[in-house]
Amino acid sequence: MKIQTTVGNLENYKIYLQVEKAVHEFMEKNNYLKINLPVLSPALIPESYLQVFETEFKFLDKKEKLYLTPSPELFLKRLLAHGVGDCYYLGKSFRNSDPPASLHSYEFMMLEFYKLGVNYLEMADIVLELLKSINKQLRITNDELKKIRNPKSVINNQIIYQDKTISFKKWEKITVSQAFEKYAGISEKELFDHKLFIKKSKEKGYRVDGFNYEDLWSQIYSQEIEPNLGKNGFPTLIYDYPKEFAALAKLNKNKRTIQRFEFYIEGIELGDCYTELTDWKEQELRFNKERSVIHPIDKGYIEALKYGLQDCSGIAIGLERLAMIFANVDSIDKLKLINIS
């Protein structure tokens, strides 16, 4: 990898800074407590699909392994259980094995916030307010952007991204099950039955030998569903994922789906929200099912849940991706003054 100085991105970077500032202001105005957190931790939540960075603390002849946090969730949930109330973190998160690409980086700015007493769909209303609020506060000095932004579009809660007008007045809502039916021709029955799903995937031409339901689901979601989301003039809210994709989310009454949504603009995933699982027994069960992870498991997380986590919802938003939409660029590296790739 090489260090690149990309000062040509200065105007875009200034937009990024404004988005960051607007987020802090929205949070403060709505009484979310800003939480500063460590990025190095001796233990993590077991989420086997996330690869982590490992380092070592050294003092004389003592050594201890430390891990860069892939998300601030383990810390924030403890604090919630101890009663800090609505809160947020806006800072770095780290995910190994995510080589730099237009929408990915192994280190990125994550906004994660929690609201007590609301479920995931109520949280979606708050996210829409956040998007409107950022849009209102942006003061554009960049000539290119000035051409596509006018006062009327701001009043109408609209932005233009890659030549398309997107309005923040409402969500386009679709369940995961409806999306599979509409975009991939996979029925609800096939979606939730592992055998039928694998059979259908094979019929569609996917390689199925040696792959499980989660592998194929994830491939078809990425290949056939995602490219269609957030393309009808509104951001798309896609919700109710199969229970297999539920590390920390609450189950729906149907027991097949979880209370999780993601939102998209122009096929780009911007955020991931759950109604948080508060049942510690269920959480412990799910942790025990996780495949091998290299790091020690944070037992304090379960202890925090035992102590009592109130009903709440939390969302994680990739801030660079969000700022990319407001800056009308197609890659997160275009927002940065130093790029390593």
Partner: protein, 186 residues
């Protein structure tokens, strides 16, 4: 050679739905909803169309064992570019649509590498840089002293390139043919 899709690289050749494609872009990522994926953009070397495909990162993919042959670019017509093998004098044609925009920087008589598979030409291996003479350029506007200011010029192959304003007609410049960017005076 069979490899995991997670190791696919730009420039490699694969079979996709029975046709030979060249990888234009390959981004590895873990979506957080199941296994990691390799999102590839594949260019079909027959239709010249791009298709996006998300491989499972541990899915086996057959990467074609291609050879590159030193050839001379001789001429083009409306549809094709023609190359000649300097050893055998055999001629090969490649559609302009397959080779892409890069061909606007090719000068007749230049040597290039052509990728071959089972004696069939696939596409060219893009040179790192090309050297071309400027045949048309406006003088820099007086008073335009903004650092980094650029102007368009025409090079001997007819392509237009943005260059710093101090560069003049008759000079030879180097260009990165893949990005079309000026990289320096020669």
């Amino acid at each position: 050679m069979r490899i995991n899709a997670g190791n696919l690289k730009k420039g490699e050749f694969v079979f996709f739905q029975g046709e030979i494609c060249q990888v234009q872009k390959a981004d590895f990522y873990s979506p957080g909803k199941g296994s990691a994926l390799m999102k590839a953009r594949l260019k079909n070397l027959v239709s010249a169309k791009n298709v996006e495909y998300a491989y499972k990162s541990n899915e086996q993919v057959e990467v074609l064992d291609v050879t590159s042959v030193d050839m001379q670019y001789i001429y083009k017509d409306q549809e094709n570019l023609y190359f000649m093998d300097e050893q055998t004098f055999n001629q090969s044609a490649l559609p302009i649509s397959v080779v892409g925009d890069i061909s606007r920087f090719f000068k007749e008589g230049e040597k290039m590498f052509v990728y071959m598979y089972n004696d069939k030409p696939l596409t060219i291996r893009p040179p790192m840089s090309v050297r071309l003479k400027i045949v048309e350029a406006d003088d820099a506007a007086k008073g335009d002293t903004v650092s980094g200011a650029k102007k368009p010029v025409k090079v001997e192959t007819g392509a237009t390139v943005m260059v710093p304003i101090f560069v003049k007609v008759g000079e030879t410049i180097s260009i990165n043919p893949e990005t079309g960017e000026y990289t320096g005076r020669v």
